[in-house]
């Protein structure tokens, strides 16, 4: 088997707070590179066509779909994944609330859901159930039916306000 001749590009970015350089295939999307290039498997792939939200990561402070962005587009950006958000402690209240409320079952949607919920709570520290449902409507969960997730986000919001 001949070696493949994938066109690549060199990128430099801040990944979970650390400055790194990498050579990435031009056509590889961000979430695939994070998972298989950078070894950060906490971001998931549920559809690869921009609907399910399992691939959510934060790029320059905004939650984006990692399957709709190429890895080369992250050149110069600050990228934070669930691993980074966990170690910084910035989503701890949400993580505790999700755990205690059993707001996850298989957990496949959870990293993306947590990042999206964190973005909501930054914007709106006291969201109503309807506002939570609206904010999370781009994150599919096939297991929980969402009720417990809404409860958990409310509980986290309350604990952060206290």
């Amino acid at each position: 088997m001949e070696l493949p001749d994938e066109p690549t590009a060199d990128i430099a970015l801040t990944l979970n707070g650390e400055a790194i350089r990498a050579r990435v295939p031009l056509r590889q999307n961000l979430v695939d590179w994070l998972r298989h290039g950078a070894g950060l498997t906490g971001s998931h792939v549920g559809c690869e066509h921009g609907v399910c939200g399992a691939c959510h990561v934060q790029v320059d402070g905004v939650v984006v779909r990692g399957c709709l962005m190429l890895a080369v587009q992250a050149d110069g950006a600050a990228v934070e994944t669930i691993e980074g958000a966990t170690s910084s402690g910035r989503i701890r209240a949400l993580q505790d609330a999700f755990f205690n409320r059993a707001a996850l079952q298989c957990g496949f949607c959870t990293p993306g859901m947590l990042l999206q919920a964190a973005e909501l709570l930054e914007r709106n520290p006291d969201p109503s159930r309807a506002e939570i449902r609206e904010a999370l409507s781009g994150n599919y969960c096939r297991c929980t039916g969402y009720h417990a997730i809404v409860d958990a986000v409310q509980a986290a919001a309350a604990s952060l306000r206290a």
């Binding site: 088997m1 001949e2 070696l3 493949p4 001749d5 994938e6 295939p25 056509r27 590889q28 998972r35 298989h36 498997t41 906490g42 998931h44 549920g46 559809c47 690869e48 066509h49 609907v51 399910c52 399992a54 994944t81 669930i82 691993e83 966990t86 993580q95 999700f98 755990f99 205690n100 409320r101 059993a102 996850l104 079952q105 298989c106 957990g107 496949f108 949607c109 959870t110 990293p111 947590l114 159930r129 309807a130 939570i132 449902r133 609206e134 999370l136 409507s137 781009g138 994150n139 599919y140 969960c141 096939r142 297991c143 929980t144 039916g145 969402y146 009720h147 417990a148 997730i149 809404v150």
Partner: protein
Amino acid sequence: MPDTALPPDGWIGRPMPRAATRRLIEGRGRYTDDNAAKGELHAAFLRSPFPHAAFGITGRDAARALPGVRAVLTAEDLAPFCRSWRTESRAFPGLVSPEQGPLARERAVYQGEPVALVLAASRAIAEDALELVEVEWDELPAVTDPAKALDAASPSTHQGLTSNLAWRTEFGGGDVEAAFASAALVVEERFTFTRHTGVPLESRSVLATYDPAAEALEVRMSHQIPHQMQVHLADLLDLPMGRVRVIAGDVGGGFGIKMHVYPDEVAICAASRLTGRPVRYVCDRIEALMADIHAREHVMQARMAVDAEGRILAFDADDIQGLGAYSIYPRSSTVEAMSVLRTVGAPYHFGAYRARLRCALQNKVPTGQYRSVGHPIGCATTERLMDLAAAARGEDPLEFRRRNFLPEAMMPWTNPAGGRMAELSHTATLAEFERLLDLPGLRAEIAAMRARGRCVGLGFSAVVEYTASGPGAYGPAHVPVAAMDTVVVTLEPTGDVVARASVAEIGQGIQQGIVQVVADAVGVPPSHVTIHTGDTASAPHGGGAWASRGAGVGGEAAWGAGRKLRAEILKTAAALLQSAPEALDLRGGQVVDANGTPRMALADLASTVFFRGHELPGGVQPQFTATHQFRREEDVFLTTNGLQASLVEVDPDTGIVTPLRHWVVGDCGRLLNPLLVEEQVRGGVVQGIGEALLEACRYDPGNGQFLTGTLADYLLPMADNACDITVGHVETPYSGSALGAKGAGEAGTCGAPAAVLNAVNDALASRGARVSELPITPTVILRALGTLEASE
């Protein structure tokens, strides 16, 4: 007689989150595709773009020449490494389901059927190579509609077959003709149920590693039943069972989708054997929607006879199932249809039943067991007829149900459908349901909404589910399915307990339930119990995750193993303490005497045995690993019951139905963990709401092309179109087991479509419209209201 000494202040029954979800909230899950193997190849499948076609692979050189490509494989290449298979079941004698292999040979019979396989250095290169494989396709007429498939004039799903009838049967009991002739009221409806599928968010994935030196296969896969896969991979690849290890790590949802033997997954294992290299494959979403099993395509004509007092006399159900191109391997698709027909009328008393079934082959992906197999269709059929009858009698729908529920005093009772009804709690459940709903208040609320012009409706459904299948389900059919489970518990030198179980964790939380059972059975806190599931090398054979069996079957095995270990611990402690085992107890990790006074910490006892064995009295050989294998001898199924209510709003202009609220009261026997049971119920209800309103696998009626290959076309419930769900419980422990747990994980899905269907019809009633088709899309609503022509 089961040892039923549940501790009064134990862990069973406590609401506790599943401990392992700590990892998942931090992104530390290990799903199949999070693993890599050194030297692995990535696979991509060439799948049939046509529902029915003859084909020849005429050129592979260009694909092979692409840098990074290792192999381009066809059915002929894999044949020396893998047998073909055919779905057979003695439960369905004469079932027509042709031979299948890991890749199609000469003819593809459903769109998405794998026909060739590329192995390459990356998935992207493998997909590039697929485009270079030269195939000559000769499209053949496709069979899609199940009813038309049975017309004599229909083309054949498989060339060489003269009919698309895969199987037919007729069963029942009592005098149906006499019942309908004497009835004061007959209600009848024709229902159409469109195919849908499970869509676990993690799609099917497999990483197969064949070691030619050891002649051993290790397969990591996202599957509900690793031991079943071990059996079939050993058989199909002709390996000793002990040389096949199947590991399902974290599994991103299953819902029945991941309990079958899929050609693509078998092909990956055969390809690893052929190349001697690890091969990795992840189904992408389009492949998953097209080639995962579908479920629940039925055309149901059903009627119910009622006497002048409003008592049900009989049901008559005639069902056509769209089965797909093959009956799914190994359990067969027909099981779903039989489950539909066995569920008709299940909550009620009735004297006569006739079920007729025809299963139609079609050029569509096979159907199979999806969450609450068949039940939602039997339930929707029954419950809609109940509402039609109540309306015709001018009676409240709950009152009509109350009169007809199977009385507790009559149980156990085998109904005319052949369903054995035992230990159901319809009366208590209805009382709890009425309390939970506050019906007078709710009715006033609905009246106020209607007065403001809102088109809202309330619908009910009564649920009976057959759960936790025993050996009598697949055993007599000679389908190799383990209805038993094994749990091994080991005391470690630190006093910790490790459990290895053949049940499988797919998100439902059974690991936590088993931990709580082991904790109580042994007498240690759950924090001292670690559980391993999902690895055939870790736990001996057992059933995995299907039919809501984890608590009812796996829980019993865990209890049995834990009690054996506890007895051994107490025997050893008695020898060391010069006491008698009966005078000692084990609580919270402490050996205590009859007064509860601590005599010895379990950790000290364990370290004495493992590290200072010389201190043990002579003749004491503690056995600190205990195994229990449990199979239920009585009751083929454990029946459970419940009630659901749905409040919906219909927008008569757009036809959009919005669920506003949902209520469930269920009785699943002893609750091992009410927190996790409630979330199973809620998740199941929302899947049922998806089934009722959104989800459909659609095919072009002309050319048979699959139309719903993305999540933008196949609609799932989202946070903003699902609703809050209130859950209540009645707890009637099953009397035939130690724990008394029955199945809980599927009841939500069973009853939700029926409740939503009835709620929509309640909303539409004032406008003289009615619907009997699922999903109830805006088009269905607008047609019912006459806004759209039937043909539009």
